[in-house]
């Protein structure tokens, strides 16, 4: 008789032994599930890390932007009765625009002050957005089902896996590589990197730093919005859905190294797997595991897995 939820290690070992004797199938499904969670973390942390790296802003409103992505998807698909693909394309753009407006009219005012001012500002913005949605849509949340054309499961040979979840992994992979290529290989990406390294010099060289900042914030917001759209069918769409992810996303960014895209991707996937596997093997501590992991990483390798030494303050 299996009993979960006790503080002792014994159930963990017992279930681990039990695992060894049963099929790879189960382990693979859980690993894939870890990739799903990891994908959401990757999308969210990409946006956060790029915003912090370039603007130096710790965007507490990121979770709220994610939630906005889910709600705009709900509005487009359920209220306006349009196809999910339209939501997938449109929602990130909408959230990106909201991000741009926030940056232009609020956040940019505080660049000259120490970083925690913008932190506080985004904190306040988060509350505001969440409550505004609560008032407009109601606090209970909205139903959002997996779109028809992506329903059902796919037989991958060694296991059968839900089609929609597979798509999340694929879309995230596609996007993450896209962002990486953009930053590393394109001219605009180079400009952004210049602005990240030293915004004053970049400014002196004639680059319109203000525009770059706005663009980057918009991009980050759009990524958060996209994560929201993708997550909506498998999560509860409700005003506080971003809160659950916020702290964990910060952990991912810190572990990966603030400002590092590769770091975010790596850390996002690792932490996604860690949480999911933690649930299987050691349920009581699955959430604490993230924090322990982060503390260990920070103490051993303070800049994060792939962070650059410049981002210390």
């Amino acid at each position: 008789m299996l009993r979960g939820g006790s503080e002792a290690l014994t159930p963990a070992f017992v279930s681990f032994l039990g695992m060894g004797f049963m099929d790879l199938h189960f382990i693979f499904i859980q690993l894939f599930n870890g990739l799903i969670l990891g994908s959401i973390y990757v999308l969210l942390s990409l946006g956060l890390t790029v915003i912090f790296g370039t603007l130096g802003v710790v965007n507490f409103a990121h979770g709220a932007l994610y939630m906005l992505g889910a709600y705009t998807a709900y509005s487009i698909v359920t209220l306006l009765n349009l196809h999910f693909l339209i939501a997938l394309l449109l929602c990130p753009v909408i959230v990106g625009i909201i991000g741009i407006l926030l940056e232009k009219f609020l956040i940019s005012k505080l660049y000259k002050l120490p970083h925690f001012y913008n932190l506080l500002l985004t904190f306040g913005i988060m509350f505001f957005i969440q409550d505004a949605i609560k008032i407009i849509y109601g606090p209970e949340g909205e139903p959002f089902n997996i779109p028809e054309f992506l329903g059902g499961a796919v037989n991958l040979g060694f296991m059968v896996y839900p089609k929609y979840r597979l798509c999340i992994i694929l879309v995230t992979g596609f996007l993450a590589s896209g962002v990486w290529l953009f930053i590393v290989k394109t001219k605009l990406g180079a400009i952004i990197r210049a602005g990240t390294d030293d915004s004053e010099i970049a400014d002196a060289l004639g680059i319109d730093i203000a525009r770059i900042f706005t663009l980057v914030f918009g991009m980050g917001a759009a990524l958060a919005g996209l994560a929201g759209v993708l997550a909506a069918p498998i999560q509860d769409v409700q005003p506080l859905m971003g809160m659950n992810f916020l702290v964990e996303t910060f952990v991912v960014v810190i572990v990966g190294g603030m400002g590092s895209i590769g770091g975010s991707i790596l850390a996002g996937l690792i932490i996604g797997e860690l949480v999911t596997l933690g649930i299987i093997f050691w349920p009581p501590m699955s959430t604490t595991l993230i924090y322990v992991f982060m503390a260990v990483v920070l103490i051993i390798r303070p800049r994060g897995l792939m962070g650059r030494v410049a981002f210390f303050e």
């Binding site: 599930n33 969670l37 606090p139 839900p162």
Partner: protein, 400 residues
């Protein structure tokens, strides 16, 4: 400049005077603490609305007006504690009703004992309220976890299957539920094939559902509420577990079904103390009035609050005073019939309000003929069986 500082301080001090409590010796004040924000607000709003309706319908008591004061505790025990203090001390309420979340209810119950005023706990399940943590100012209304487990658990173990897998929300209420449900399962010789403790407000239940499927249960028992219930059931549907096992819920409300869609919950079983179609005196009027005012049918938590508020006011009438001791004495051992319980009886040993319990099955979409008609009453359990023996949880009354 000195003038500036004086003016500044006077201004600040006067701000405080704005919120001085009015002298209210000739009104009876009823306080409602519930979850009025966040995803569980559907439960809380219904409770607040019902309290309003009860106060409105009752009119006046002992020649005094009745005033209702609402507070949101956001499903948080610490906040509930503060709000209870505020209501008893500042607003000088004569009683507090509702308060979902077992830990929150326990906190409010303590405040009730400290301030010597009644607390009608309608919405929390923990049997500690009529057990280790009982006190004479608590009147436990509506249901408790033992009743839920006994009503659906005993029947479920016999008719749905013997191998159970439980998914439990990891907080006070979940633990209490698990205790009672596994006891019920044991009574019928069932096997508990596994359990998962899941943090509150978890979004993705797929790892737990997959674990459950591995254990191959006959029945999946979901010991959670609100968004956790919705997410866990959705995941069970998505991964096909629903085709292999029956699902039993600890609590399932009409708003949850309305939000996620009845296909998600079709043929699931749950226990309840009331359903809006039940044939109690005044039930239909209440359900219709509620529908008219709020556009939906009431869930049983809401109905319980209406009944508790009403019976409190009746007790005040009988006792001829709002003095807590007298009112509580007027309630102990009292039998009543209203829209909620027909009859209901308040046990003097542990202050549990008992009535018959209902076993409900969630209807399939094609069976739903009118708005919010989500359940079919499959059976009933008499009060003595559903609620067990009075005082069986070890209540030693503190208070007067």
């Amino acid at each position: 400049m000195k003038k500036g500082s004086v003016v500044g301080f006077v201004l600040m001090a006067s701000l405080f005077w704005l919120v001085c409590p009015a002298n209210a010796a000739d009104t009876v004040k009823v306080g409602v603490i519930s979850v009025l924000s966040g995803p569980l607000a559907t439960i809380g709003n219904g409770e607040a609305w019902s309290a309003e309706m009860a106060v409105e319908d009752f009119g006046t008591v002992l020649g005094k007006k009745i005033e209702l004061i609402k507070r949101d505790h956001a499903y948080n025990p610490g906040v509930a504690n503060e709000k209870a203090k505020e209501l008893y001390e500042k607003e000088k309420v004569d009683m507090i009703v509702a308060c979902p979340n077992s830990a929150a209810a326990l906190a409010v119950a303590q405040q009730a004992l400290i301030h010597k005023k009644p607390f009608f706990s309608t919405s929390a399940g923990t049997t500690d309220l009529i057990g280790k943590q009982c006190n004479r100012y608590i009147i436990k209304w509506n249901y408790n976890d033992y009743m839920l487990a006994t009503t659906v658990g005993l029947w479920g173990a016999e008719h749905l299957g013997k191998k159970w897998y439980t998914i439990t929300s990891d907080y006070a209420w979940g633990h209490d539920l698990l205790k009672h449900f596994t006891a019920a399962l044991k009574k019928k010789g069932g096997i508990h094939v596994g359990n998962d403790m899941v943090a509150l407000q978890t979004a993705d239940y797929s790892p737990y559902i997959l674990k459950a499927m591995k254990a191959d249960p006959d029945v999946l028992v979901l010991l959670n509420v609100g968004p956790d219930t919705v997410n866990s059931t959705k995941a069970a549907v998505q991964y096909g577990l629903k085709k292999k096992a029956k699902i039993v819920h600890a609590l399932l409300f009409e708003p949850n079904i309305r939000g996620a869609g009845p296909e998600v919950f079709a043929d699931d079983y749950v226990a309840g103390s009331w359903y809006w179609k039940v044939d109690n005196p005044g039930a239909k009027e209440y359900a219709d009035k509620y529908l008219k005012k709020h556009g939906e049918r009431p869930h049983f938590m809401a109905a319980a609050v209406y009944s508790a508020t009403w019976q409190y006011l009746e007790a005040v009438k009988r006792a001829g005073t709002t003095d807590a001791e007298a009112v509580i004495k007027a309630l102990e051992g009292h039998t009543f019939r209203d829209m909620f319980a027909n009859p209901g009886y308040i046990r003097p040993e542990d202050h549990m309000q008992v009535a018959k319990a209902y076993l409900l099955r969630a209807k399939r979409p094609e069976e739903i003929k009118e708005k919010d008609d989500y359940f079919e009453i499959v059976g009933t359990l008499p009060a003595e069986e559903a609620f067990g023996k009075p005082g069986q949880f070890g209540c030693e009354m503190k208070g007067f």
